[in-house]
């Protein structure tokens, strides 16, 4: 099964990458941009999708500082 894991900085934790992108977009003429956050994307094939949550908790994300969302693609 193909899966996609989206990993984001937790709400309330300073996200300097998101802030830098948020400042850069208006400099390029894109107005009206707010609340930009930059995270990571992990795509993987797994035989047993029930293991995905454990994979996220133990390795793919750091639950202290990141939220994750698992999407099953097929």
């Amino acid at each position: 099964m193909r899966a996609r894991v989206l990993i984001r900085p937790k709400a309330g934790i300073l996200d300097p990458q998101g802030a830098a992108v948020e400042r850069a977009l208006p400099a390029l003429g894109f107005a009206g941009v707010a609340n930009v956050h930059v995270g990571r994307l992990v795509e993987l094939d797994v035989e047993d999708s029930s293991q995905l949550q454990s994979m996220c908790e133990r390795l793919l994300a750091n639950p202290l500082v990141e939220d994750y969302e698992v999407q099953l693609l097929s």
């Binding site: 300073l14 300097p16 390795l59």
Partner: protein
């Protein structure tokens, strides 16, 4: 007194850590694939970019065979010092509270920093001989210490905040100026600045870093290791 210094693919400060440790005792490198810690009395997890810092700094190194042994060693009361990437590895291994995040300014910074000694009586600071401020190099892009507010309050209440950046020296945005923390038992300590680079006045700006290694030796001799 014997130090074991871990070496991962991508470590770069293990030789300086080895040389610093050898100024106060015996020291040997331990390759990441080894489970045997070679009878070490204390472990140093050094700086660098273990496993290329892929995914998150320290995330993959934490699962190496050597680190599995270090986790057991720490749970048995053994002294473990994590420096820079080693601090990140110890946080990922949950041997230390909190996490390290990218510097607020997103830049790699290399500079000498002043550190206030908050806890002078730990196994890692007891040989400071009255020093209340350390001058040590720091060099990283991923050193902003983070823990949630209730954890930070607990750390302060229990005396686990060992070192803070002196006012004006917190270049990475660490919460509450925290530069180094210990675990609740006090036998595991991590810091972002590099004491192993400050053991010779010619190259380190001071010899203050040596006091950390001397403290560990003293702690082992006094029987902290169980």
């Amino acid at each position: 007194m014997r130090f074991g210094v871990l070496q991962f693919p991508g470590s770069c400060d293990e030789v300086d850590a080895l040389q610093a440790a050898r100024r106060v005792g015996d020291a040997e490198l331990i390759w990441h694939a080894e489970r045997d810690l070679g009878g070490a009395d204390a472990i140093v997890v050094p700086g660098g970019f273990s496993y290329g810092d892929y995914l998150r700094a320290g995330a993959i190194a934490r699962f190496s065979p050597a680190m599995e042994s270090v986790i057991e060693f720490a749970r048995d009361g053994g002294l473990v010092l994590g420096i820079c990437n080693g601090f990140q590895v110890l946080c990922e291994a949950r041997l230390l509270p909190g996490a390290l995040l990218p510097n607020t300014n997103l830049r790699f910074i290399f500079r000498q920093v002043d550190l206030d000694v908050v806890a002078p009586d730990t196994p890692f600071t007891r040989a400071l001989g009255g020093l209340t401020r350390l001058s040590i190099p720091a060099k990283h892009s991923w050193g902003r210490y983070y823990a949630d507010d209730s954890t930070l309050d607990e750390l302060e209440r229990r005396g686990q905040v060992v070192l803070r950046y002196t006012s004006g020296h917190n270049f990475n945005g660490s919460l509450r100026d925290i530069a180094g923390v210990s675990n609740e038992a006090g036998n595991v300590f991590g810091l972002m600045p590099h004491p192993e680079h400050a053991v010779d006045a010619l190259t380190g700006g001071s010899t203050d870093g040596l006091t950390i290694f001397q403290s560990m030796r003293l702690a082992v001799e006094e029987g902290v290791h169980v």
